[in-house]
């Protein structure tokens, strides 16, 4: 018992010593000598083609299969942000997770902090929640399972949820339901994609005092096309992982695009 205690003490001292060393390393390394940081606001403007998306179910849209539909819910996770500096350096931020919900409590405008001061030409983020986080048990905040973006029977976060009505759905109340997920790399169920977005000629300028706004567009018409023509009459409900979910995820992988920046 005594021996174990002193061994524990010894290990603790070692750990403390090493962690102290590590801290020094991090401070001297990292993003260079200029460690001052600022924030940016990212705004996800949900669109149906060229018009702003109505998620109250009041507007009728047409997909690439010629089917009309309305939208009553659009919610998605974006996570693991990194930003590309003008010189090509990639600044990877800690793995944060954001539930984008136009009509819900988490909203569609999110402030990202901890960005080193400088000029940026692009952003990269994961559409969904990575496997590492998915296997860590009950979470809080945007990942709180009470947000209704989880599967309980086959653990995982719903990456993108799109719901609404369509006269061709053939279901009760003519509703269609798409809950797309799949974090396991095996068995053709992997539905995670990165969005890579270039800001073109408009730089995002991060300072310690300003809050520039990065406006992105999320076009839900892309959910239904390229490369897979998603037909509501054929697939009114997709709420499990598998080949159809993967095909839909290949569609929405490019639904995000750059709109404009207000520095």
């Amino acid at each position: 018992m005594k021996k174990q205690n002193s061994l524990l003490l010894f290990i603790s001292v070692l750990l403390i010593t090493f962690s102290a060393c590590k801290k020094d390393d991090e401070q001297s390394g990292g993003t260079g000598s200029n460690t001052s940081t600022g924030s940016a606001k990212i705004i996800f403007n949900n669109m149906a083609g060229s018009v702003p998306l109505n998620v109250a179910g009041d507007s009728v849209y047409t997909n690439s299969s010629g089917e009309t539909f309305t939208v009553t819910a659009l919610r998605y996770y974006v996570s693991n942000f990194s930003f590309v500096k003008d010189d090509g350096t990639v600044v990877t931020l800690p793995a944060d997770y954001y539930l984008i919900d136009q009509s819900g409590k988490t909203g569609f405008k999110r402030t990202i902090s901890g960005l080193p001061v400088g000029s940026y030409k692009g952003v990269r983020f994961l559409i969904g929640v990575d496997s590492a986080k998915t296997v860590q048990g009950a979470q809080t905040g945007d990942l709180d399972p009470s947000n209704g973006m989880v599967w309980d029977w086959n653990t995982g976060y719903i990456f993108v949820k799109l719901e609404g009505n369509s006269p061709v759905a053939g279901t009760i109340d003519s509703t269609y339901q798409y809950h797309i997920s799949g974090y396991k790399t095996s068995n053709n169920t992997y539905a995670l994609h990165w969005a890579d977005i270039s800001f073109g000629s408009q730089p995002l300028v991060i300072t310690t005092t300003t809050l520039p706004q990065l406006n992105l567009k999320t076009d839900i018409l892309e959910f239904f096309r390229n490369p897979y023509d998603l037909s509501i009459v054929d697939n009114p409900v997709v709420t499990a992982s598998g080949t159809t979910a993967v095909s839909i995820s290949n569609n929405y992988a490019d639904m995000f695009s750059f709109d404009h920046i207000q520095n």
């Binding site: 018992m1 809080t140 309980d152 086959n154 499990a240 598998g242």
Partner: protein
Amino acid sequence: MSKNLYFCLTIVFAFAFLSSCKKSDDETTETPKPLFYVPDGFPAPSGQLQNNPVTTAGFTLGRKLFYDPVLSKDSTVHCGTCHQQFGAFAQVDHKVSHGINNLLGTRNSPTLINLAWHSEFFWDGGSNHIEVQPIGPITNPVEMDETLNGVIAKLNRSTFYPAMFRSAYGSDTITSQGILRALSQFMSCLISANSKYDQVRNGQTTFTATEDSGYTIFKSKCASCHKEPLLTDLSYRNNGLDAHFTDPGRARITTLAADSGKFKVPTLRNIVLSYPYMHDGRLSSISKVIDHYRSTIVQSSTIDPLLSSGNMSISDAEKAQLIAFLNTLTDQTFITDKRFSEQ
């Protein structure tokens, strides 16, 4: 001076020695066990308690929630309804789970035993963490049919839950994470490791001749799937119940046809208590389970390779010996431990 120092040191060492002796004496007579511990001879736990260390307050909150019907939509059903302590936390004599409004589930309630050594849950392994596992039964329309937000709202109206959350987590705020982590603390502490089988392993007692013969049969015919000491290898297998699968089992999770009809190998600990058996509760007794393995194994494309050569050869005498051994897996301490009971 140095003589005094040596004298002092000797005294100190003597005390240290004596006190360490005393401690080990205490340990051998110590009862009951701590809430969470790793029994002798057990492998390392899954590690899912890593961010959720067991505390008395957390365990107590978890137990309160486990036995509280407010977790169900109409406040009629609690976790203990389908997981009864006297049945090793399975639902005795019910083929499939009974939820609110007399709704039936599709699968037999599994036992809750040594779950800290599991990293996947449900018959098909669909849940990947002990903390999120309770979301399944709480929200399933034919089980408790409640929402996490509904539970939080009801707990917030209670006169005692906010204080219990404060004791467990330092804050009155009731969160889904707090609920789920408390439940997982309670479930992780449902440790069964004091059956006669365990006592024999620890050298405290010996098997009778019949039990010992049964143990030998067990080791040659059962232990490759019901691996010691957990008495499950935690894998998914098709044990030859059907040729066609009304329940896809593991394939529901993996989407692979090769996993059709496969279910998680259940532990054999306390097995005689947790009847009926199989994922759908179709076999009502241990006797019928052994009869299945010796006479009704059905071949199919996903049959387990260990059963692909057909029925096992088990004589009536061997069957009786095997049943005698399976009875040594019953842990009276576990099913009578007041700490695990509704308070």
